[in-house]
Amino acid sequence: MNLYAVAAIYRFEMNRTFRTLWQSIVSPVVSTSLYFVVFGAVRAGGPSEIDGMPYGAFIVPGLIMLSLFTQSIFNASFAIFFPKFIGTIYELLSAPVSFVEVIMAYVGAAATKSVMLGLIILATAFVFAPHLAILHPLLMLVFLVLTSLSFSLFGFIIGVLSKNFEEIQFIPMLIVTPMTFLGGAFYSITKLPQPWQTISHFNPAVYLISGFRWTFFGKGDVPVIWSLAFIFGFFAVCLVIVSWIFKTGYKIKV
């Protein structure tokens, strides 16, 4: 295993994160704060509690998940798309590195950034919802890390397959964000009328958000084991796709 290469890429990517700290960390924190302010204001006319949880606390896991999904995808896809775009990918392709090492480094760096981001948003949330309590902190971290890893891997695939910046933005903006909003980030799907409740069970985001919320409050829209199974399954599928991409050189080599 070429660990020097893994370290070199990982360090390179983390440098990029710290160099662009403003975009990387500050803007998601600001937008999360905005969600709290806006939803807090709307709350006056809406439910003050969901499933016995204060609404301000209820939306925290969903908000974190929303950021993890979009930021993981965006960071990982950009990390591999950019070298393709400016042509520096030649060096990666000519280096004595395997796909496992490339993925460990790129996905590892993107996931690290997402975990940091999730924790920062969580800290921000405590400002807006001071009574927020986390019932299963360790499992919460497990969900945080697994979600960051799988969505970074997913983003890596998108970055490899994308031909331009529009394509990179397409999936996070037009698929993942709506799915998250419809996946119970801001409400409980058990409160939805039929047939929407059934339809929601086909939305992958439901399982992720529900599981993450369970680690906070011990309650979720679906059993937590389904959530865990889902996240592992998603991770496995992404791994298979990415190993196929590297084996064939699809869209990377000509």
């Binding site: 370290a7 440098n15 400016i86 060096e91 392709l93 004595p96 590195v97 080599k253």
Partner: protein, 308 residues
């Protein structure tokens, strides 16, 4: 000489249907400087890109120091440094950090002393803390060379290293290349400038339309190519070359008024002075005589157009 790179029956057809490499065979000798000379689109970059692992071959086999470039890619790639044709660099990183990055990427433990040596040899030391985007084009090319040398490769590929490069860098670069060769590094450079091949190479391979049409020691090639031409303008047209002039392998122009003779420095053909005596003997009068050095360029164009 032992060969360090062995290319056998290598082919490449791109998805677009372009046949960039017909079956190519090539042996690169350990420690030599080999120039791959050929016009644009000849397949030079494709050949290099396959050996380095950037492009998938369509067929054939390449070994580097006995290792297959696909089965043993870690071993072969660790030995190779590549300076690509395109100026592709990061923008926000510093010179020092990208050179160190490359060293790590190629599996070498950090060695600041080596990076320092490389940067100094390329006059980049003063710029080590500068962001790459602030550098000029020539400086960026130096950075690419520094990256390629950062992991102490035993084989260095330079793909059109002097395209758009100033004289200063050219001099620096050739100095670095000579030092590397003295250290036993094998160097393969591509160019479509004949002077460059002349100046630097031990051997020259001419590649055109995906085929290597000639590979020769530079000195031998130069002697062959450096042949002088003797052109005789006759007073009266000849219908054909008299049998007595056979030993000189003359060429007669269509109008029968010009005889062309190629001096042969190898001495395999009869010389010029006896030819002139013979012409006198045969009473073939000429009113003008001129010599010209046939340049590499002419020969090259001749070689290439023969194949079209």
């Amino acid at each position: 000489m032992a060969s360090i790179i062995s290319v056998k029956g290598l082919t490449k057809t791109y998805d677009t249907g372009v046949e960039a490499l017909k079956p190519v065979d090539l042996e690169v000798e350990k420690g030599e400087i080999l120039a791959l000379l050929g016009p644009n689109g000849a397949g030079k970059t494709t050949l290099i890109a396959i050996i380095c692992g950037i492009v998938n071959p369509s067929g054939g086999k390449v070994t580097v120091d006995g290792y297959d470039i696909i089965d043993d890619y870690r071993k072969t790639r660790a030995m190779i440094g590549l300076v690509p044709q395109e100026l592709a660099t990061e923008a926000f990183e510093t010179v020092w950090s990208v050179a160190s990055f490359s060293r790590g990427l190629f599996g070498k433990a950090p060695n600041p002393a080596h990076i320092e040596k490389v940067l100094k040899s390329l006059s980049l030391w003063d710029k080590r803390k500068d962001k790459i985007m602030t550098l000029s084009g020539g400086m960026k090319r130096r950075v690419l060379i520094a990256k390629a040398l950062s992991h102490e490769p035993r084989i260095l590929f330079l793909d059109e290293p002097t395209a758009g490069v100033d004289v200063e860098l050219r001099k620096d670069m050739w100095q670095v290349v000579r030092e590397l060769r003295d250290d036993g590094v094998t160097i393969i450079l591509t160019t479509h400038y004949i002077e460059e091949a002349e100046e630097m190479a031990d051997r020259v391979a001419v590649i055109n339309k995906g085929e290597i049409i000639l590979i020769e020691d530079k000195d031998v090639l130069m002697r062959k190519l450096g042949r002088k031409q003797l052109v005789l303008h006759l007073q009266k047209p000849l219908k054909s070359i008299p049998a007595a002039l056979k030993p000189w392998h003359l060429a007669l122009s269509e109008d029968g008024l010009t005889l062309t003779f190629l001096f042969d420095p190898e001495g395999e053909r009869a010389g010029a002075a006896p030819l002139l005596r013979k012409l006198d003997e045969l009473k073939i009068a000429f009113d003008d005589i001129s010599t010209s050095q046939k340049s590499l360029e002419d020969i090259f164009v001749g070689l290439v157009s023969d194949r079209t």
